[in-house]
Symmetry: C2
Subunit: 661 residues, 2 copies
């Protein structure tokens, strides 16, 4: 390890420690422990170009242990990404800075994914590696490997303890994603102390069981050893690789290294002084980096340019030789594709007969897959039930990366992270699917979709007590409220074919917001009055004859037909009601106050909402004077034709509750 390499590694340590100290908040343990690994990878192996962070064939690097964000920010600064200045590092964790506590996608140039919840980056990395293989199989031609890059992720013991990493890695092994390379920062320290208290498993053996090549770097500061490990990982073209790097948490800081206290608090001024001395750093001044170190990084960056130049040249030739592929490429990367191809009459067409919205959704998926070749997706081992299979598009597998039907296995959480990763890669739109009640499992990663602004689509079927015989463990109750409460998430519950088409249209045209569809298992009638107005989230489906209705019934999904039938019965008694469909509260809330007041006039207080799930949140529309027919308990196991009447989801009850007001 020559001196300039040592200095360059230590610059990462110094900047990280100083930034965390200045912020009086942060996690120095990982940046100090992993500085060598990160430097060796970024300086000598990673295919990237700080001058063009969006280069489509760049290698991806995800810091799964997002709390070690200063490692990433130090790298981005030293490599000159997005002109991230020393001043930005000085603003670490401060209001409005480019250096928030955990790395944030779309916020800081060079950050490939928002991380923080442990294990998330591992799942997203698997998704990125899947996207790479799929895109490669679609686009590469003999002599033109236009998609050909690695995905690297770095995480620690916490990432390996979280179940999501087992889920994701088991699938990665099955799929033989040999261009996926994982660094395991093994420092044997967790927040509560030695990992021995909770984590004595043989991690490498587990990874071998998943089908990974495993490699160990005994000295996490030996650049040569690290470099050889990376080369060995690349050399295996059959298996993904897992590189265990034995590190010391907080390396370089004598009082802290190897201790749990190095993990999540500033080192302290004295300890930083001692660290700089220990590392032979030339100055005590905070954030000082010698000019020769900056010059060295600059030289590295200059050396990275030719690879992209060569790729650009190859890509230009490819485009000329295969103009149809160039066109397809542009189609894949066209953010406005859905608007262009999903708005014809066939897209919105339907048969006027009773059908389950899960079936109708299945039809929409098959219309969309023909219009949008870049759509890929699947279910957590439930596609025959969630109706998410794309006909004639093949199965994505180690033998057929061109397949568009993903088989995620019974792994809802990893599935969602993988969906995020596929979309983060670029070029593809993904959907994932499971039963609505199991959307609970997807929550931590769906939250990341929302935070990152990744418009992943969730197909959640079996959306109420309509599940019937499977009983309470399979009947969603509180799930609609859970999703409606989350920012930047569109939770749709369509009532029939037209609204299902609208939900899908909204999903595939969304640029920055994930969309979920809650769909029925049971058949529903087509409703008179449903329309593309559903894209406003809530709208009048059948209005009163009077300008001011006697009452308003609001419903979604399977209960909209009850509302419509109740209106008829009430009309016979001279009560003139308006029926409002509310397929997506989130989008309705985004409408103008005028529109909302038009649909739900302030002066009409006799309002009844009906939805066969928790009423929590409906008070926003029924207020203190209205009424709500919902579920305030868990469901039960019986045919749904028994459950709906028992729990009050009947025309008679809707009529009675309106009259009671």
């Amino acid at each position: 390890m020559n001196n300039i390499d040592t200095m360059s590694v230590n610059a990462i340590r110094v900047l990280s420690a100083d930034a965390i100290q200045k912020a009086k908040s942060g996690h120095p343990g990982l940046p100090l422990g992993c500085a060598s690994v990160a430097y060796e990878l970024w300086a000598k192996h990673l295919k990237h170009n700080p001058k063009d962070p969006d280069w489509k064939d760049r290698d991806r690097f995800i810091l799964s242990g997002g709390h070690g964000s200063m490692l990433l920010y130090s790298l981005l600064h030293l490599f000159g990404y997005g002109d991230l200045k020393k001043e930005d590092l000085m603003q670490f964790r401060q209001w409005g800075s480019l250096t928030p506590g955990h790395p944030e996608y779309r916020h800081t140039v060079g950050v490939e994914a928002t991380t923080g919840p442990l294990g998330a980056g591992m799942g997203m990395a698997v998704g990125m590696a899947i996207a790479e293989r799929h895109m490669a199989s679609v686009f590469n031609k003999e002599g033109y490997p236009v998609v050909d890059h690695y995905t690297y992720a770095l995480g620690g013991d916490g990432c390996m303890m979280e179940g999501i990493s087992s889920e994701a890695f088991s699938l990665a092994g099955t799929l033989k994603l040999s261009k996926l390379i994982i660094f395991y920062d093994s420092n044997r320290i967790s927040i509560e102390g030695s990992t021995d208290i909770a984590f004595t498993e043989n991690v490498q053996k587990r990874m071998e069981a998943f089908g990974f090549q495993t490699i160990t770097v005994e000295d996490g500061n030996n650049l040569e050893e690290i470099g050889k490990a990376i080369e060995a990982a690349k050399a295996d073209t059959e298996r993904p690789s897992f590189i265990t790097v034995k590190t010391q948490i907080g390396f370089g800081c004598p009082a802290k290294q190897g201790k749990a206290s190095a993990h999540g608090e500033p080192l302290g001024d004295d300890n930083i002084k001692a660290m700089k001395e220990n590392l032979g750093w030339p100055s005590e001044e905070p954030f000082f980096v010698p000019e020769e170190v900056y010059a060295h990084y600059k030289e590295i960056v200059e050396g990275l340019q030719p690879a992209e130049d060569a790729w650009n040249k190859m890509f230009a030739e490819y485009c000329e030789k295969y103009p149809e592929m160039k066109e397809l490429w542009d189609t894949y990367y066209d953010e406005d594709l859905a608007e262009k191809v999903c708005d014809d009459a066939d897209f919105w067409a339907y048969d006027d007969k009773a059908d389950a919205t899960r079936n109708l959704s299945g039809k929409m998926i098959n219309r969309i897959k023909d219009r949008m070749p870049n759509v890929i997706g699947g279910a957590a081992d439930l596609s025959p039930s969630t109706k998410t299979y794309m006909k004639d598009e093949g199965d994505f597998s180690a033998e057929n990366y061109a397949g568009r039907n993903m088989h995620f296995g019974v792994r809802e959480l990893a599935m969602t992270a993988i969906g995020n990763g596929i979309m983060l890669h670029g070029g593809l739109r993904a959907f994932v699917s499971t039963f609505f009640v199991f959307s609970d499992y997807t929550k931590p990663m769906a939250r990341l979709s929302s935070i990152m602004g990744v418009p992943l689509t969730f197909v959640f079927t079996h959306d109420s007590i309509g599940v019937g015989e499977d009983g309470p463990t399979h009947e969603p109750i509180e799930q609609l409220a859970m999703w409606r409460a989350m920012p930047n998430f569109h939770m749709f519950r369509p009532a029939d074919a037209t609204e299902t088409a609208a939900a899908w249209y909204s999903a595939v045209t969304s640029k920055r917001t994930p969309t979920a569809l809650a769909l029925t298992r049971q058949n529903l009638p087509q409703i008179e009055g449903t329309s593309r107005e559903a894209l406003k989230g809530g709208y009048i489906v059948q209005d009163s004859k009077k300008a001011v209705p006697d009452a308003i019934i609001i419903a979604s999904g399977s209960e909209l037909s009850l509302a419509v039938e109740a209106k008829k019965v009430l009309a016979e008694d001279g009560i003139d009601v308006r029926v409002v469909s509310m397929p997506c509260m989130d989008i309705f809330e985004e409408q103008s106050e005028e529109y909302k007041a038009k649909v739900l006039p302030k002066n009409v207080r006799k309002r009844v909402a009906v939805e066969a799930l928790s009423g929590f949140g409906w008070d926003r529309y029924v207020g203190l004077d209205g009424d709500m027919i919902g579920m305030n308990r868990f469901g039960a196991s019986a045919p749904y034709s028994k459950l709906f009447p028992y729990f009050g989801f009947t025309v008679e009850n809707v009529v009675a509750r309106v009259k009671a007001l």
Copy 2:
């Protein structure tokens, strides 16, 4: 395998197939495939007594693949548990029957846990095995192993794909839970087809990596081989055991066995006929079981009695010899313990100074642990931050099963399942802990706590944007709404020491409802007017002078102090407001209409709620005429002293919003 054994195994298959056929709904694949394993275990190895299903030292059996419920119901019927009749099997999946679609705890005698969400049973089994070791270490005396039993769980590929099983088994291996024995029903079939499409990992190698003994039964219908495997599992006193049983899904049904279609739909009348022929079953009549088979099961059950008789004798001697242990035993099993010991002045005492509710909660935990020796718990590697460590109580580990501090590792989902399992075992009360934002990870298993009526306690700290620098991935927004929407769950957000004590009192005295505490990272002042009235969920903390207040401000947790300060400022302007604290909406909703109307009179419509999380759900109290100061977006990374004012959580803003009404 002699004839009566064969007949007895096939009786399970026939009853399962017939019940599912009659219900026109259900999952025959597992019951047919696993009938031999279940029979061998229950008939010849399991320590149990159908005549006393509550025998405290019985072995536990959890059907983790809960969709195979007919396997369990057939066993319970044949062994005579709770007098489960043939007629009950005929009512499989029907309204109000004892045989719902998935096994339900507290509903059917002999069901040890509600299962259905895959992997859940594995996590709960680990919890039960932990409870067994802890209770054994507390109670057993030389020659008196009063707690000494095995925990068995049976699950399939789905259970093994779910991340929760990796989390739970990694911990089980670390803890050397040698009395835990897992059956892996390896049939190589999943819903979407062969497991090869998503699950080619070496499962046994993974389990070895976790520290399990692994055993394979090549022929899942060879009772002798199964029996030997169970004996070998018991013989290992250092490691938990994992028995892979190679089975055929839907075994016995010629048209279905080995096929995905055997999994989740009735076999069909013709196929059942063919199955009965194939198995040499003496009658085609549905639900027919020969008398000799019933007689055989009766004989088995009679043979189970002496073991419990012997235990009862030993236990009586133990109680006589160690009267103090008998007293302690009764304390552990006293459901009313908390009411008796947690209501003294010291329990409610506090220092009148600003403090974070996480710290105050930590004090309460340490008061409770001295009063309730049966409390055990810990965090997902965050106890220094969540303040959940019980002083001087030691760490639960393979070397010290008497320790009361659990180290769950970074495994929130398994932690929750384990918490459920500990409580299902009986004798212990458990708490689990993580950051509030990561409560997302616990959701699927917390839902089971609520469905089962298991009063697990959740300590969720860092409960708002008050988290500050860690940023949006660590700042809960929608989590309060998510938990409030779930039935049978008490979500507390206390405002100060008194309310924190109330939240804990509510948690430990709860018999059938889990409780969560959302607690601050930052210091809060003690509020004048808080009291044990907090146990009503919502109450008047500072009232208006007028009988009818000009307005009502409602708040919880860290925002209650804003409400109280705003009241003072408004008073200066002659506006006389009432301040209502709402630490637990769920419990407030359980109060009488009179009480609720007293706190929030219908005629006072000028209401402002303030809570630094999503406003979703607050309309229940502010209605269409009120206002809500909440978070309708994700948070940001900055010191909380910057975030609170930016997002409007200031006295000035509360005052302004009240005035605006």
